[in-house]
Subunit: 229 residues, 2 copies
DNA sequence: GTCTATAAGTGGATAGAC
DNA sequence: GTCTATCCACTTATAGAC
């Protein structure tokens, strides 16, 4: 399974606001990274342009040389996330991999792939921004519904469909299996990484606990849908 | 199973801010109900004291004759929710009821009890306030963790424990069963009643869809943990 | 490209007349 | 108990000097 790069680059300036000089691009990137940091800690509305500017080390009016508005910063954060998602492996690869190494090994590898994807701190922060602004920002809500819930459950559904076709699972409804798997993954994410989030604590601890619960859940799913060797 | 009253009264004024006159109490109650309406539609931070006052039909400064601060209004909304929860039936009653009528009937009755509890529009709106402010307001986060997640999973865990004791379920780990049941219930609630919430649409439709998914999930759980008749 | 200064508005909360 | 008037901190965004 492909491992994504932990140090992905941010997208280049495209708008008319920031000039093409080297200094301009670097300031623009600093604004973007600082915004991701602040939004992920305090939420979009709670962070002001002044606060971003102060953290970057410029005056607030200078931000508008690089971004048209506060909203334009958010837009670019979301497109950065999309550019990272496109690195994910295909369904065909995924199901083939499961057939190769067996179901239980596959679920473990899948877990570590997820951790790899999330090992990019920027991606992790963007997930956090999306999660905490889900019910306060219509643009983020639509983004979440389309690019996380909708695409996510589709991928799992097709994955389970392929697994059943390859006789790796019993002939269950793929949509039900997907819903069982996906709902639990979302539940764990929100519980351990958002609700119980503590920036001062050891970041490995929520991972450990979430994974322990996920293992129990996978055993549970396999008890219904698994096929004995 | 006990059905809760759909027209529960709001708690009386207790602070020093509102006097004991009939008119004062009625204005205070109007402020509270209006705040619940507005907070549940737009969120706590997005609604200003001015906006509440305008909707009630008084000036913003008059609010402070009835409540010490905006936060005090929220406090009272949360205590109203707690006063309603205390009406819920006991575990012993619940497990006995399951033994009486059988597991599948019980799950259906449980579903309609939940709908009954949620049939109070005020309770429904308070759930919505809690859900959308979960990651923006520390007081609400703690309230949710304590009074919904923590108490909720405990109740389900003990309920499943009693059911296993009474041989209604196979000897599975009650904590795992609780987590399977509770996580899915939360997932459905957030998906259908918060994420896809549409005040202009038919309110029966999300209920129908959520319940259909819940039925599939219960069948799934019973396939692992159920005991054949 | 960054700055100062400022516009034009929002927010919660208070003082004091009636 | 409600009103008018006001305070002060804070918001996004713009104009124009350098």
């Amino acid at each position: 399974m492909k491992r994504t790069d932990g140090n992905a680059k941010l997208p280049r300036s495209q708008g008319k606001t920031s000039s093409g000089t080297r200094k301009g691009r670097r300031t623009r990137e600093r604004i973007l990274l600082t915004s991701i940091d602040l939004f992920s800690e305090k939420g979009y509305d709670a962070v002001s342009i002044r606060e971003i500017a102060a953290a970057v080390g410029i005056k607030d009016s200078s931000i508008y040389r690089h971004f048209e508005s506060k909203d334009a910063i958010l837009d670019e954060i979301l497109s950065y996330y999309l550019s990272r998602v496109s690195d994910a492996p295909s369904l065909e690869q995924t199901a083939n991999r499961a057939a190769e190494i067996g179901l239980e090994n596959f679920f473990h590898e899948f877990g570590s792939f997820y951790l790899g994807f999330m090992s990019d701190p920027t991606t992790q922060k963007i997930w956090r921004i999306i999660a905490i602004e889900l019910y306060h920002n219509d643009k983020i809500k639509r983004f979440f519904q389309k690019n996380i819930v909708c695409i996510g459950s589709q991928i799992f559904e097709e994955m389970f469909h392929l697994m059943i076709e390859r006789k790796l699972l019993k002939d269950h409804d793929p949509a039900t299996l997907s819903s069982e798997f996906f709902s639990f993954a979302l539940y764990l994410y929100f519980k351990y990484f958002i609700l119980e989030y503590d920036p001062t604590a050891d970041p490995a601890e929520p991972h450990r606990r979430a994974w322990a619960e996920m293992e129990a859940h996978i055993q549970f799913l396999l008890a219904v849908a698994g096929v004995k060797k």
